[in-house]
């Protein structure tokens, strides 16, 4: 467990799932630079510990490591219980945890589809549910989900992943309508091809082919997505809700 500091009312408290690597880790570092109290969760405790230390050095008010399998409902409940005890509030939830499935329709096991939905959709849903309960009392809050360009427009060999990310987009829009009355904003970012562990297995040839479809002619970096999330967590974004914001270098054009 990482070190903590008592919350003060002016310092935002932010929970980031999937914070041990990729976009989640990049978001953690961005929000650390903004001085947030950070609550970092993922399965990989060692990875979280390393990121938490980097966050402290980057200026986080505090960085607490909360190792958790997000598909374990009781464990997720325990995480939120700890947040309630430690900070009594939550200002930002970043649902960055997710997994990818690259397989054609006929070669996708239903068990794989269910595992994908369990993490990408159900776990995000439960986190939104519990976060909204913490946020509703303060009548303010901000939820950012990780959707995908694939969820918006589909991709060959990614039907399961696309379905799960489309579900995230639908969830985002519905919650923006439902939670707006409680002062809670809900948005999603929809990355295109971002260089992370999830895309590390792509061959150089496949990356080259993808880049030919991207207006900017290159893949994206996790920090570029994190910068957008950081903006959505700022007061400058206080009138933005219900949006699925593409960050894909023009891939979706």
């Amino acid at each position: 467990m990482g070190s903590t500091a008592a919350s003060d009312i002016d310092t935002p408290v932010s929970l980031i799932t999937g914070a041990s690597r990729g976009i989640g880790a990049a978001v953690a570092l961005r929000l650390a630079a903004s001085g947030h109290h950070l609550l970092l969760t993922a399965r990989n405790e060692l990875g979280l510990t390393v990121i938490a230390e980097q966050c402290r050095q980057a200026g986080a008010a505090s960085a607490t490591v909360l190792p958790c399998d997000l598909t374990d409902q009781a464990a997720v409940l325990q995480v939120f219980n700890q947040i309630k005890q430690q900070h009594q509030r939550l200002d930002h939830l970043i649902n960055a945890a997710g997994m990818m499935q690259d397989s054609m329709l006929g070669m996708t096991r239903l068990a794989d589809l269910q595992a994908l939905f369990s993490l990408n959709v159900a776990a995000s849903y439960q986190c939104c549910q519990l976060a909204a309960r913490l946020m509703s009392r303060q009548k303010s809050g901000n939820i950012v989900n990780l959707a995908s360009k694939v969820g918006e427009s589909g991709a060959i060999g990614q039907s399961a992943y696309a379905a799960s990310k489309a579900a995230v987009s639908g969830l985002t829009k519905a919650l923006a309508k439902e939670l707006g009355a409680l002062g809670i904003r809900v948005n999603a970012v929809a990355p295109g091809f971002i260089e992370t562990d999830l895309t590390a297995h792509y061959s150089a040839l496949k990356k080259q082919q993808l880049c030919q479809q991207i207006s900017l002619g290159r893949t994206g970096q996790a920090d570029e997505v994190a910068a957008l999330v950081q903006f959505l967590c700022s007061n400058d974004a206080k009138y933005i809700s219900g949006q699925i914001i593409a960050i894909d270098g023009g891939f979706s054009l």
């Binding site: 409940l77 309960r133 913490l134 009392r137």
Partner: protein, 100 residues
């Protein structure tokens, strides 16, 4: 704990419950009775219900599960559900438990 203390605690919890309802629903505390039910007044709609849950969780320092939230259809049911979590009220009845 003495009988007097026990009574004080019960009254206190009932008062805290009523205050939580009045705050979440933005109504006068005098309107809070055991019979008050979800959707029976305009102020207790689905949005206010979520505020109510947050208020009760904060007031009694606990976290309710989803089934509890769905079942909390009246003040009486709120007492019944909170009593499962160790909150003591006077005149607890469980007649409504498990009802629709």
């Amino acid at each position: 704990m003495t009988a007097a203390n026990h009574t004080d605690l019960q009254i206190s919890n009932t008062g805290r419950l009523k205050h939580a309802f009045a705050t979440a629903l933005a109504i006068d505390v005098a309107r809070i009775s055991d019979d008050l039910a979800y959707n029976s007044i305009a102020e207790w709609d689905s949005t206010a219900h979520m505020l109510l849950i947050a208020e009760l969780e904060n007031c009694f320092n606990l976290m309710l599960d989803t089934d509890d939230i769905i079942d909390m259809s009246s003040v009486q049911m709120a007492k019944t559900i909170l009593s499962k979590h160790g909150v003591v009220f006077e005149h607890i009845t469980t007649d409504h438990a498990g009802s629709d």
